[in-house]
């Protein structure tokens, strides 16, 4: 079985500085494997081990996503090899364009049975790209995946949906987006990190891939910083809990919050 893990190398917005006008300064933020992607790496490795299969990592983005550290961070997470598309033409690309690039890369890798992805990316946090990728490939897409195992002619997928936990028998190629708590991902050990250096990396040129041009454009009319300054910010020292609580309750009663 050939399994692709589509992951993101991206910064955490928590580390960005948002200016009063709403523009974002990323200079102090560092790229890392996106927060929930390790779950996808773990599910992929377990599925590959159970089926004698191969795990191929895949990521796309601006030229800056291809660094020795980035390669090692991915390859130490149970991958057999890594494929990247790193091109500044993808800088700031919307999710559908990224999905198009991922799809083109998946087709280039060829004979892929399962694409596994995380719940949502740390920097965009919308949980959409993996399912748009399914649409680009023309494959079945399933999200909220809490488990995947080998099955008859395909995989058996468990989904943790609001309505209940559903089990599906899937044959044919499929894109699976894992829920963030599907499994606890193993932490790469020394052996994994050292072994990463020996694994192959292939960089695909964006120009060689057939990525559909975006037809619908987004125009930003205005940006703003969410108004965090509206809060009172009365912070009390709680080293004497009873006293602090008395003050708090008094203030809340005065403010008619209690």
């Amino acid at each position: 079985m050939k399994i692709v893990v589509a992951y993101k190398w991206a910064p955490n917005p928590q580390d960005a500085d948002v200016r009063p006008d709403g523009s974002v300064d990323w200079s102090r933020a560092k790229n890392a494997v996106s927060e929930y992607d390790p779950v996808a790496f773990e599910l992929a490795r377990r599925l590959a081990d159970a089926t004698g299969g191969e795990v191929v990592g895949l990521t796309v983005g601006a030229a800056s996503i291809d660094t020795p550290l980035a390669r090692k961070a991915a390859l130490s997470r149970g991958l057999d090899r890594l494929v990247m598309v790193a091109d500044d033409a993808l800088a700031g690309a919307d999710g559908t364009r990224l999905a198009g690039a991922l799809a083109a890369a998946v087709r280039t890798i060829g004979d892929v049975d399962v694409v596994l992805a995380g719940d949502s990316s740390v920097d965009v946090a919308e949980g959409q790209v993996a399912m748009t990728l399914a649409g680009e490939l023309g494959w079945l897409g399933l999200n909220a995946v809490s488990g995947v195992t080998a099955g008859d002619g395909g995989v058996v997928v468990e989904r943790d949906l609001p309505s209940g936990v559903a089990t599906l028998a899937v044959t044919g190629a499929v894109v699976l987006a894992a829920s963030s708590d599907a499994v606890v991902a193993r932490v790469p050990g020394m052996k994994d990190i050292l072994g990463a250096a020996k694994k192959p990396v292939e960089v695909l040129a964006l120009g060689d891939l057939a990525v559909p041009a975006t037809e619908v454009a987004l125009v930003t009319l205005a940006t703003a910083k969410p108004d965090a300054g509206a809060r009172l910010g009365v912070v009390l020292d709680g080293s004497d809990p009873a006293a602090a609580v008395a003050q708090l309750v008094g203030a809340l009663r005065q403010a008619r919050a209690l």
Partner: protein, 311 residues
């Protein structure tokens, strides 16, 4: 790409579509609902204040609605509406992903409000995990939007007819089992007071501290993401944050919650925010009305006692 002045909404499995219909009305001259799933959903949608219902028929036993994503994309592409709106739910994202791929259009999420400027769809949304707000115009084709869907429609007024069309699902997936979860019906959105707990809590047993306070203050219990997913101490329906509940209670008490934006974006509309945290540098202290820097294991019981005494 030329589009019509129609708004289409994609409905699957869940007939709670009031917010989708409301936004669709604002953006288009005619509201068409494309329903994937059981007849019951099509019938409830027909009462939801739309102009037309197009239904892909009863799915064969065991066929997931997601298997119809390709058909949904085909039908929407043929219709070329001004806007397509879908629910920000698992199935909604699958169906809209297929639509977006087909139309070569980005999917807009985190939407706060929509408006029509001339012929153009304009949305106000949060981006980048909630750290910034954007006002965005869509041009060049169909706008694809995901929204928290809303509530069920009241069955007032005459329903519209259901137009059934044939649809071939993508084969290869069969639902073999469904374990319905015993859901404690929580309506966090309706609670006037919410007491939320985060990673500052050391063990599951300590939740009693929090539930005691919630009881004393007459509020509901909520949590930040790690307690609903990482450790599974609190039901997922009680998780407040960017991909969880968005609530605006009169009073929000955050216990042992650091105040990361992925959590705070879910409670932005709260009237009064109170924070209890042992770390004076925790971001939440810059986002609260009142805060106590202290040990929650002492402060929370003291607060419960003070409220009980005054009640």
């Amino acid at each position: 790409m030329n589009v019509t002045s129609q708004s289409w909404i994609v409905v699957s499995d869940d007939p709670a579509v009031s917010a989708l219909v409301e936004a669709a009305r604002l953006l288009g001259t005619e509201v068409v609902a494309l329903v994937v799933g059981r007849r019951e959903v099509a019938e409830q949608t027909a009462h939801a204040g739309v102009d037309r219902v197009v239904w892909l028929g009863e799915p064969a036993d065991g066929t997931p609605v997601e298997a119809f994503a390709g058909e949904v994309a085909r039908i929407i592409a043929d219709a070329a509406p001004r806007v397509v709106l879908g629910a920000a739910t698992p199935a909604g994202r699958v169906l809209l992903g297929a639509v977006a791929a087909r139309l070569h259009a980005p999917v807009l999420a985190g939407i706060g409000s929509v408006e029509l400027a001339g012929d153009q769809v304009v949305v106000a949304r949060t981006v980048l995990g909630g750290i910034a707000e954007h006002r965005t115009a869509v041009s060049g084709g169909t706008a694809v939007l995901t929204l928290a869907p809303g509530t069920s429609a009241d069955a007032t007024g005459a329903p519209v007819a259901i137009e059934e069309v044939a649809a071939t699902p993508t084969t290869g997936a069969t639902i073999t089992d469904v374990r319905v979860k015993e859901q404690t019906k929580v309506d966090l959105g309706a609670a006037r007071t919410v007491v939320a707990v985060g990673r500052g809590l050391k063990s599951r047993e300590d939740l009693a501290l929090v539930t005691d306070l919630a009881e004393a203050v007459g509020g509901e219990v909520a949590c930040s993401r790690p307690l609903a997913e990482g450790v599974d101490w609190v039901a997922k329906e009680r998780y407040v944050g960017i991909s969880g509940q968005h609530i605006a209670p009169d009073l929000y008490v955050a216990i042992g919650i650091s105040g990361q934006l992925q959590h705070m974006v879910g409670v932005r509309g709260a009237k009064v925010v109170v924070a209890i945290n042992s770390d004076k540098a925790a971001p939440i202290f810059a986002q609260c009305d009142y805060g106590i820097v202290g040990d929650l294991y002492q402060v929370v019981p003291a607060l419960t006692a003070a409220l009980g005494a005054g009640a």
